[in-house]
């Protein structure tokens, strides 16, 4: 079992569990909902790469999510680019944005880092609001889903689901690998004791920057896919509450756990979806859940589980 992607046994088991679930899920869960969960799970996992493993809290990740969503939507709708290219364009945008923001922000720490990323994200929000191509608060609507490799019709929810699931799994494994790579080891050392890492000759900023760009790119991937699935890119995607959502998912799932963000995304998105029917009490119920979460299940869903099993998850 140890052979699976170099994972320890319980990680491998869980990953296989997730794979099996992804295969059977569409038979009893609405596929569009599943896709939404996957997009946000990817968003949260990529965000967690930064928060959980570099110790940097970015409050501006909506920038990459929404930026990529806009570019993908625009290139697919207006320029008529095929699915793959549109997604790549979104990711490239996110990577470029990540590089710029990273260079500016990476020297700051803690709350200051969070605030500078928030500030830059708010500026981008302003640009998105003013720019013509983003369609203001109506967003870019009716984005064509197109065909994968020119043959597979993605307008069929199930085929699109299959593609999204594959993308998600691939990205998740990549994140897993990043965390458990020589690079990930250095990141860990930097998070633990930065002056010491520096005195050993590591240029801490370079490592953090690379991690930041990787995270931004993967978040961009999530945003791009989201815009295709919902055929929509809108201001919601670049608003600061979207960054907040990533934080929530990570916390609810379990900070610093590799599987936590997935669970967190599933919970938060389900909440958003099913509580929507609750009408006026939605936000109150949401609030109560957060409060209970912090007071009673501080480690998050997966974190608590990990504690019960005495394993890192």
């Amino acid at each position: 079992m140890n052979g699976f992607f170099g994972m320890p046994r319980h990680h491998a088991l869980l990953t296989v569990g997730i794979l099996v679930f992804l295969v059977v899920a569409p038979t009893f869960i609405y596929p569009v909902f599943l896709m939404k969960v996957l997009c946000f799970a990817l968003f949260a996992c990529a965000f967690n790469l930064l928060l959980g493993y570099v110790g940097l809290l970015s409050f501006g990740h909506a920038m990459f999510f929404g930026g990529a969503a806009y570019i993908t939507a625009h290139s697919a709708k207006v320029w008529g680019w095929p699915f793959e290219l549109a997604i790549l364009a979104g990711m490239a945008t996110a990577a470029a944005l990540g590089l710029i923001v990273g260079i500016l922000a990476i020297r700051r720490q803690g709350i200051y880092f969070a605030m500078i990323t928030l500030a830059l994200a708010q500026m981008q929000y302003f640009l998105a609001l003013q720019a013509k191509f983003t369609g203001g608060e109506d967003g870019i609507q009716k984005v064509p889903r197109g065909y994968l490799f020119g043959v597979i019709d993605l307008n069929n929810d199930l085929s699109l689901y299959a593609v999204v699931a594959v993308i998600f799994v691939a990205a998740f494994l990549l994140i897993y690998r990043i965390v458990h790579s020589p690079f990930g080891q250095v990141l860990k050392a930097i998070r633990e004791n930065e002056p010491r890492a520096t005195s050993l000759g590591y240029k801490a900023d370079h490592y953090k920057l690379i991690a930041f760009v990787l995270s931004a790119t993967l978040v961009g991937l999530a945003g791009s896919v989201k815009s295709i699935v919902f055929q929509l890119a809108s201001l919601t995607d670049v608003h600061w509450t979207m960054s907040g959502e990533a934080v929530l998912m990570t916390l609810v799932g379990g900070l610093g756990t590799i599987f936590g963000p997935i669970a967190g995304a599933a919970v938060i998105i389900s909440m958003e979806n099913y509580l929507a029917q609750l009408g006026p009490w939605v936000t109150v119920v949401q609030g109560v859940i957060f409060v209970i979460c912090v007071l009673a299940f501080r480690r998050g869903i997966v974190g608590e589980l990990a504690r019960l099993l005495r394993k890192s998850l």
Binding site: R177, P182, Q185, G201
Partner: protein, 250 residues
């Protein structure tokens, strides 16, 4: 002419009008164990910070191996073989002892940017890491998380990690501070052992360690050099006795 690995010329550091280090010209002979001592607030730690570029000097130059490094960055300094330890213990607390040492080894071998590779590629460093760990007497602790070890052992680990970089010049800031007797002895022995083939500059208040280990001493007081020489010379200097050692020694 003597072979100096590190020379400073008129090194000065001011903090908002307060002069912490004032025109210090140090010469560290290659292969020596050089001790920097002096009363509290004399500027020893500040000197260290200047040498490793954690602080920028207000004035003065630093030459390492004949090269002017006054403009270099901390990480670059480390890459040139000038590695420091900290006054407060500096390990990676939630990594195991083995991982702590591997982090240092990994830096020397490159590959530390490989985010697509499995961390098992790092196992290649295990042998060398175990060797170093063994050497500082931590063989029984290889898989212990650093934070769980007693203080003295952490300092030993720190030295192992530093050695992994195969430094030419090691700077140790109060390596035995806060240590039990048992550990003081062990660390002193360790320093003696690792000093073979390299140069050590250390700040230390424990005079028995200083007298035991060092073959050159610089005494700082109020940011300036008060005296220089070997232990016997320095400890007889009345100014040093008055400012630092007190009546009990000498």
């Amino acid at each position: 002419m003597a072979d100096f690995i590190l020379e400073t010329e008129g090194l000065t550091k001011e903090f908002r009008g307060f002069v912490a280090v004032n025109g210090v010209s140090l010469k560290i002979r290659r292969g020596a164990i050089h001790a920097l001592i002096g009363p509290n607030g004399a500027g020893k730690t500040t000197c260290f910070n200047l040498l490793t570029k954690f602080l920028d000097p207000t004035r003065g130059t630093i030459r390492y191996n004949g090269r002017d490094i006054s403009g270099a960055k901390p990480a670059d300094i480390a890459r040139m073989g000038l590695v420091r330890s900290f006054q407060i213990s500096a390990v990676f607390p939630h990594l195991s002892v083995l991982e702590n040492v591997r982090v240092a080894l990994q830096r020397r071998r490159g590959s530390s940017f490989d985010f697509w590779r499995s961390e098992r590629t790092l196992d290649a460093f295990n042998d060398r890491a175990r060797e170093l760990i063994d050497w500082v007497g931590l063989a029984d602790f290889v898989d212990t998380t650093a934070v769980e070890m007693p203080y003295g052992r952490k300092r030993a680990l720190e030295i192992a990690t530093t050695l992994a970089l195969e430094p030419e010049l090691m700077l140790l800031d109060e390596p035995t501070a806060g240590m039990g007797h048992e550990d003081v002895g062990r660390i002193a022995a360790l320093i003696k052992r690792v000093a073979a083939g390299r140069t050590v500059l250390m700040v230390e208040h424990n005079l028995s360690v200083v007298s035991d280990l060092s073959n050159a001493i610089t005494v700082l007081a109020r940011g300036e050099i008060l005296a220089e020489g070997d232990y016997a010379t320095v400890s007889k200097n009345p100014e040093v006795i008055q400012a630092y050692m007190g009546a009990g020694h000498g």
